[in-house]
Chain length 406, copies 4
């Protein structure tokens, strides 16, 4: 057992850290302030600063690092990439700068792994080049989407074509002006085996019948310029070649996509929690009340300790999960992938809440990144399946040897 | 010991409930939707609907119920008013409609109790009539305001005048177009006994030198049209007669104001928690996943039970505190006032978080009142002193018999 | 709403307090030390000290206070008796001294309410006089007794006789040398309505076929001299007149017994928690480490505050439940009775755990009453139905208006 | 980063598991039952069964595995031994059988590292051979021992001799009939640097002036036949050569001893938690209530999931700490050693509490190992420094870069 990161992982980590310190940190706060100062309607735009940073990141070879492919990315394994994702999680813009932002990462993985040459040429290439963005339309407003069999949207075959109908929401990224492609999940054949009913279809965002009905506020935030949209599909007709891997393969694709995606989400949240802990330490040592630094009042030191302990445990669990994905594949990490999905967002929510509290009222404002980071952590407790569903998965796997079914 | 509310309390409660069901409930959601649909800059306005509802409430005799005064209010004691505040807490606009909104309530209490006839005529009368709004400027951005001795703003006597300087923030209500008066707390005499150093001054919002620098986002929300402002005071010069109760009496006034104000806050939060629990029950029974109503999945029923148990306990503690305030005054309820300030916002935050989770992504949007209610509960964990300060008060009083000091 | 106890309640409370301070407190620690110094086999005895104290309590008119009957008790309502039970909970022997110990209290209530003159003469009289003790045999080792329909023991009618078979455990009090009577619950008619299947039978402990198989350790303690036994019944044949209220009425009797019993348990635990909090304050102020009293280290003051807040809320909920039982009967307090059963033992367990921790290793020994009090609180989380069953009851009642069934 | 255990670690782990399954598991329950059936006074003895198992373990080469020394032990590093300690933690007797029981392990480490040849010959040899036992006398009843500077016991130099006075308690193992040697920590020179004041002295248990005053109950248990004693030292006069490493070196020795000891404790607790989780799964699937296996009622499945998640995180943190100890020494693992000391016993206490609850009343008895395992976890929250002291260490190290001192 050896907890030392590989030399390659260390080297990339160091370079990403340096890039963030030199290129991103000096400009991020100003950029976010400028963004929030814009009238809401004008925030959905491409920002030259971001494009410039993307160019620099790519030039520095810090591009698509999430992708295990050594040609397009850096050939990093999950356990090698994880600490890099953590560092990116300390910033609201770094993931995009390094072309490592969700849901593009997952979508690129899908296309890389399962796309036809044509699909790759049309969509994967510009995604890898950071020229376009993408969305993933799965969750629906009218049903409990935690149960995939509830899905009401359809992707019906009609000769050489596939016809999409339904309403999706929480389609992250769909508000971005460069979001050109949507991966749509719909029901194709309700009579097939339950893992063979759904298809994933590549939909140009400007296809007739596709309407972004509204952008959804999440705890009051629209998360411009990417946002989370409610999207309707009305008789959207596309060539059947738009289906990824063929009809009925949606579940299979979805499964393969989940492991690394959750590792990324969780590592970014660990980065956010780590940043919040640092901010709590700094604020707690700088501000004085009742003749003492805040940190020496009441239970504040214990809160710092508890946060440190929680972060350390969470990080190790995610790294272990990443290593399992690398060495045993998705099926060998099913429980752990759900474990981190439960443990990490909750931990991050709590650590950030603690840091907000130590900042007093200021912690609730946008003068600090805490409030926005909290919202992100809270939202991820629901994204990709709510905590409760993942606890159910962990329990099911735990109880399997005892021959029990719900 | 008798937990039956007085007949008068019951009657008023019933009337407030009926008014809310008949007059407020049918229009609130539409009003809030309309408000949020406005461009942010245009939300800081007087809404005719609200004014109309205020007129109806006043005509119905449901006006200023928070004030124990039988002529201006209904002569309700704290324990009689508390359940009415709870009911108002189920709505974001009810408190204003009944002229029972913070910080106007506290400010009116101060003026009613300590104001000169001139002060009452100029500011209390229109406040009681719901014609103007007010703010309370105490917390400061540059210091840990949980320790009042940190206060940097000054209210310096200069002959017949008092001159204000300093910067305040989290001045709730200061964004409202009808906010005409500010109660400003500042340091007058640093050499006096530490409870005699500060003064409260009545400041016309349009006095020269008063500037609302910005409205503060709280977890991303500006809470228009009242909001929370950052306000600078630069050589604001006012007649010394603007000082409430005279120089150096600020602490004393502040103390008297806190008990009922915290009871109101807490009861409104209990109303919000109760509403969240109802929503959780409704959602949990209506939505289906994995072949069952959500409520019958995993630990959801236990969450409902735990929420019910937490709400019941919190409500009883607030009612008991209100009763202590009525029967023994502020000094007889010091510990309990701090106890509820710790217990209730935390309970509400947790219950509402649970309800959000049961709503899935929808719970995070503004399609439901949960996200905004959560933010309110979270913010109140810092308003009027952070949890940690109140825990300190409770501990100090608990340990007093053991002859210990920090 | 009036939180003042009735004059009668106050007077009795004061007298019980005085008796405990003057008669019990000076001798309890010595008595317990002496008890533990005995070889285990010799602890199951009648202690003259206890008998002497019982005589004094009875002489002082502080006898059977739990019983609402004004002739046998003091005619106290539940809400009047509750604070007295709390005070008794500060001692391990007080309940017995005042003839208010479980399960005798519940058993006396059953006989008082439902017994025939003969049953009362034979069993109730000496119980009321504190001459004998009793046990209640319901829970069984081989099944999940949280579901009463699992009960395997039988009380079969055979002509004029009833024949008992089965094995019970956690029969509290059965180890006491004066335990003369057992209330046995068994299945009489599996074909009847599910609330009409069981009977409660009065069994002389020395009846042929009754065997106390062993006394059960609870977290390592046998709780001598009363204890908790495992009892087998093998063809125990008794006249049918031993059945309380007639065959099939067991459920009905059981229900009536539960409300006050749970209030008593919970109030005693609140007394134990209150005592633990006092001990924590005392220890925390007396012991010094790192140059400060323990209480001023880390989060200890916040722990004191949190314990105070938790106790206050729990007490108010139990008092409210007692008042509901008094004014609306068991059916009007179903949810609350289950609420306190969940909330109070858990609260007590946590407060006592905190106090143990502040005592260092000493807190785990029998030099202080904390360890034993903790065990009592922990055990009550299972007695009379585990937490989870009561959460289920609370949820069921909460969800009833929404038309849902599990 | 590689989470695979070394081949050597895997091989030993497998052999220990096999030995436990084949040799210990079949007899442990009977042995414990027999032990508890003895009159308390007769439990302090050497049990032939244990001696026989020790012989078999030694013969199998599974002996002193805790010791990194390849001649006396197996040359396992901390991270290699840790999973073996976990497995031993599933049994109450395994640690002794493999000669890996505390405090002998720590005492052997001290002697191995710092002992003179004479000291090794006299005490280390028979300890390594499992022929004698030992105790460590540090904690004192009269002071808060969490602060080592509170220590009142003295080890005074007098010519060629050292004279010991004082009273110690929680001296684990001192009740064992083969406990022949005590490591006594006392104050030698109060004028020296605070890390140079104390000495550790090797004391024959039968030295004149040494008295085991009593064996301490821990949550009602005496943990025979080893137990935890209160020991007085009255003018115990020994040759100065009994001092380990020389006068004033006690602190230094103590420090070196703590890291591995805490890893062992924590890994054993993880084993106990893992066993409790398995028992919860088994019980939950076998028992039926309300027509379902217990595990499918209420929140029980979520409890299983939360336990699994908590155990995984805790284990990884301990393994990481062990690896840090191996690769960077005690000074490189200071924070982590304190982190595990906070996190693991608390986790174990909660997981075992959950398992007890799922077992109903049975979980509280000695029919299952849960109650005793719980007590062990609870006690370790105080042993080797209470949680609060370790949180203080973690916070201090975390805050060091911010230039703050308490």
């Amino acid at each position: 057992m050896d907890f030392t990161p590989s030399p390659k992982a260390q080297e990339y980590l160091q370079r990403v850290r340096a890039f963030m310190a030199e290129q991103i940190a000096p400009v991020e706060e100003g950029h976010l302030r400028e963004l929030l100062a814009l009238p809401p309607d004008e925030r959905w735009r491409v920002f030259p600063l971001i494009e410039e940073l993307k160019g620099k990141a790519r030039a520095a070879g810090l591009w698509n690092l999430f992708l295990p492919d050594p040609h397009e990315g850096a050939g990093l394994s999950n356990v090698e990439y994880a600490p890099i994702a953590e560092v990116m999680g300390r910033s609201f813009i770094a993931a995009e700068v390094f072309n490592c932002n969700a849901p593009d990462t997952g979508n690129m993985e899908v296309l890389h792994q399962f796309g036809t040459p044509e699909q790759k040429e049309r969509w994967l290439r510009p995604l890898l080049d950071g020229e376009i963005r993408s969305a993933f339309c799965m969750t629906e407003p009218e049903v409990a989407s935690s149960d995939a069999t509830n899905m009401a949207a359809t992707a019906t075959l009609d000769g050489d074509e596939v016809v999409l109908n339904g309403r999706k929401w929480f389609s992250t990224g769909v508000g971005h002006p460069r979001c050109d492609v949507i991966l749509f999940m719909g029901l194709t054949d309700p009579t097939a085996h339950r893992h063979r009913q759904h298809s994933i279809v590549l939909v140009p965002k400007d296809a007739p019948g596709v309407t972004v009905e509204r952008m959804l506020p999440v705890m009051g935030r629209l998360d411009e310029p990417s946002g989370h949209g409610e999207v309707s599909f009305r008789d959207v007709r596309l060539p059947a070649s738009s289906i990824v891997l063929g009809p009925g393969r949606g579940f299979e694709i979805g499964q393969s996509r989940l492991g690394p995606g959750r590792v990324h989400h969780c590592m970014r949240l660990i980065g956010a929690a780590e940043m919040a802990l640092e901010m709590a330490c700094r604020r707690g040592t700088e501000r004085v009340a009742f003749g003492k630094p805040l940190i020496n009042l009441g239970g504040n030191r214990e809160r710092i300790a508890d946060a440190r302990i929680a972060i350390e445990q969470a990080r190790l669990l995610v790294l272990y999960t990443a290593w399992l994905l690398d060495t045993q594949g998705v099926l060998g990490a099913l429980s752990q992938v759900s474990q981190i999905k439960v443990a990490v967002p909750l931990m991050a929510q709590q650590v950030i809440d603690m840091a907000m509290q130590l900042h007093g009222g200021a912690g609730l404002t946008d003068d600090h990144p805490l409030a926005a980071a909290w919202t992100m952590a809270r939202a991820i407790r629901l994204a990709d399946g709510p905590d409760e569903v993942h606890r159910g998965v962990v329990a099911r796997l735990e109880l399997a040897p005892y021959g029990i079914r719900r």
